[in-house]
Symmetry: C2
Subunit: 233 residues, 2 copies
Amino acid sequence: MTDPPFNSWQSVQEEVLARIHSRQWKPGDLIPNEADLAQEFGCARATVNRALQNLADEGLLDRRRKAGTRVATHPVRKATMYIPVIRQEIADKGHEYGYELICSERVLPPTEVSNIMEFGRRAHAQHIVCIHTADGRPYVIEDRWLNPKWVSAEDMSIFNEISPNEWLVTHVPFTEGEIKFSAMSASKTEAELLSCEEGEALFVIERTTRNKQEAITSVRLIFCRGYRVETTI
Amino acid sequence: MTDPPFNSWQSVQEEVLARIHSRQWKPGDLIPNEADLAQEFGCARATVNRALQNLADEGLLDRRRKAGTRVATHPVRKATMYIPVIRQEIADKGHEYGYELICSERVLPPTEVSNIMEFGRRAHAQHIVCIHTADGRPYVIEDRWLNPKWVSAEDMSIFNEISPNEWLVTHVPFTEGEIKFSAMSASKTEAELLSCEEGEALFVIERTTRNKQEAITSVRLIFCRGYRVETTI
DNA sequence: GAGTGGTCTAGACCACTGG
DNA sequence: CAGTGGTCTAGACCACTCG
């Protein structure tokens, strides 16, 4: 039996964490079931459930019906990255945001793009290249393919003023997709656009956005030298 | 009033999502309170609460007491990356895992490291460099600093057999910390260790791990050419 | 089959915070 | 101050899955 009042799911969670930390419950161990814990802690089972479920979401516990709850053997590390709108990211850093459209054309995408976006072979798409600047210095190249179905030809003119990055956030909310982080050497064109040396190591984010299987847009963001993504675990 | 039976928090969530999608509830809009929705859906308030709370966690809703629940104006994109143990990551890709310790020494860390780890000026730390291979090819360099308080001198010998990456996961569970993704050019040493060209663009993950403010370890993972991190949004 | 977690309900009280 | 979300309770039934 334990002394403190366990009358909130947070306090239950802390107690469970303490037992994992102190190795009273070791990785792989089966811990008591919810009903027993509820009795021990003097609270409702739902409260215990909330606490354990939260810890399971964070990857510290493995729960299965009938099998019970175990301390995760390999606490899966999860890092959650918040992907901001570029204009906001630059403003948050205290720099003045700038935007320039480099090109916008409706063409047949290369197969690597149409494969990712799962377009038909002969479908045209809107290709847009633009650059975002911070205090006048190049910050990131946005190289984007747009499914024309989602953006009318008239709408395209908007991209003289506002970046696709920003426009999409407000006009095509809640989408699913994949995101990839990688590194690449600056080609000559990229070096020119970003005012850096050819061959310089650049950080790249590629993102494909879908709405129920149908690709909306696929973008490659090539960041200036020294850029990094950062978060807490 | 709506027809389907809303008898699970998932079905409530779907209905709410549908309304956001259809723009019946637009970004910034105040949506009805939990009690009203519960009545409309014919379920308990707790069920509505669970659904809305989940959507708020995912960043689609903003909820505040008294102020009510609003559709998020800038649906914050969150990407959750799962950081696996390197051995497992390589095995999952179907390659044979290999490990080699390059060096292990107890020395005074450079100031950039002691700053990050918030060590005292004159505290020594364990510096370990090792390499992980996939099918015999270099996969990633692990360059790590360890707070000696967490690993006894005798334990150090274990690192001839097993990587610090793996050892730490099982021996120092549930820690907090920061993680950074970036790109860098391969130095001569790194190029040799990874069998790549000097100047090649490499993907880098830096991670510092703490247990209640106290730094346990700080690691820099320098991946081979072409490596990328990938996840779904 | 039986034990465990997953969830729903109805009601209640509390904590926060906007007006 | 009053309305809203946050949470707890006690009880119930269900769904999954291990043995």
